[in-house]
Symmetry: C2
Subunit: 122 residues, 2 copies
C-alpha cells in the first residue's frame, strides 16, 4: 500500500506545555480547523476547494510554549497564509482565555512547510 | 467563575477501541467538525450561524466500537440532525478506510443530547 500523495494541507500547531487530555486537545484542534476552513472558503475559495476536494488533509504538530506559537503565527502571516489562533473558553482543565493552538492554512504543502516543516507530530 | 451556558453544540463521537494517538484522534475529530460545519452551513445556515456565533462549542465523546457508532448515526438521522461519518485515509496507525469518528450537529443541545447525552467524554 503506497501512501496517498497530497499537495494541500491544513496544519494545527498545539502547545505541548499545557498537557491537555486527548479529548480537550481534539476540541481545540477542531476549533482551529473549522475556523481556518471557513476563513479560507471566504478569502480564497479556490485554495479551499482544492484542499477540501483532495481530502481535507490535516496534520497536528507541537511546539513547547506560547512564544513559539506566536512566532509561527507571525511567520505564517508574512507568507500570506490563513491563520487562526484559538483561545479556550476555559470550562475545564485550563483558565479561560488560554491560547491553546494555532491553525495555518489550508495551503500548498510546500508553503506551509516553510513555517512548520521542522516541527514534530503531536 | 461560572461556566458559560451554551444552547448549541456539535458532538463528535470517537471509537475508543481503535486506541489512536492524541494527534491522530485530533485529526479525525477535526475532519468530522469541518464536514459537519460545512454541511450545516449549506443545509441550515441559521443553525450554523447560531452555533458559530455562540462560540462553535464542540464536545468529544466515546463509544466502544463501530456498531455503536452506526447506531448513533441512525438515531441522529431519525431526528433530522446533520451527521458526518469519517473514514481514515490510512496513512498511519490504522488500515485505510477504517471508520473512526461520527460528527453530529451542530444543533440545539437538547436535541443532540437525545442521541449522545449518555455517553462519556473522551
Amino acid at each position: 500500500m503506497s501512501p496517498v500523495q497530497f499537495a494541500w494541507k491544513l496544519v494545527v500547531v498545539a502547545r505541548s506545555d499545557l498537557r491537555l487530555s486527548a479529548g480537550k486537545t481534539a476540541v481545540q484542534v477542531a476549533h482551529a480547523a473549522v475556523s481556518c476552513a471557513l476563513a479560507s472558503k471566504k478569502r480564497d475559495p479556490d485554495t479551499f476547494r482544492e484542499w477540501y476536494d483532495e481530502g481535507q488533509r490535516k496534520v497536528v504538530v507541537k511546539v513547547p510554549n506560547l512564544r513559539a506559537l506566536y512566532e509561527l503565527k507571525a511567520q505564517a502571516e508574512d507568507l500570506g497564509l490563513v491563520t487562526s489562533l484559538i483561545q479556550d473558553a476555559g470550562l475545564t482543565e485550563i483558565p479561560a482565555g488560554t491560547v491553546t493552538v494555532l491553525g495555518i492554512g489550508p495551503a500548498k504543502e510546500r508553503d506551509i512547510d516553510r513555517v512548520t516543516g521542522n516541527l514534530s507530530l503531536l
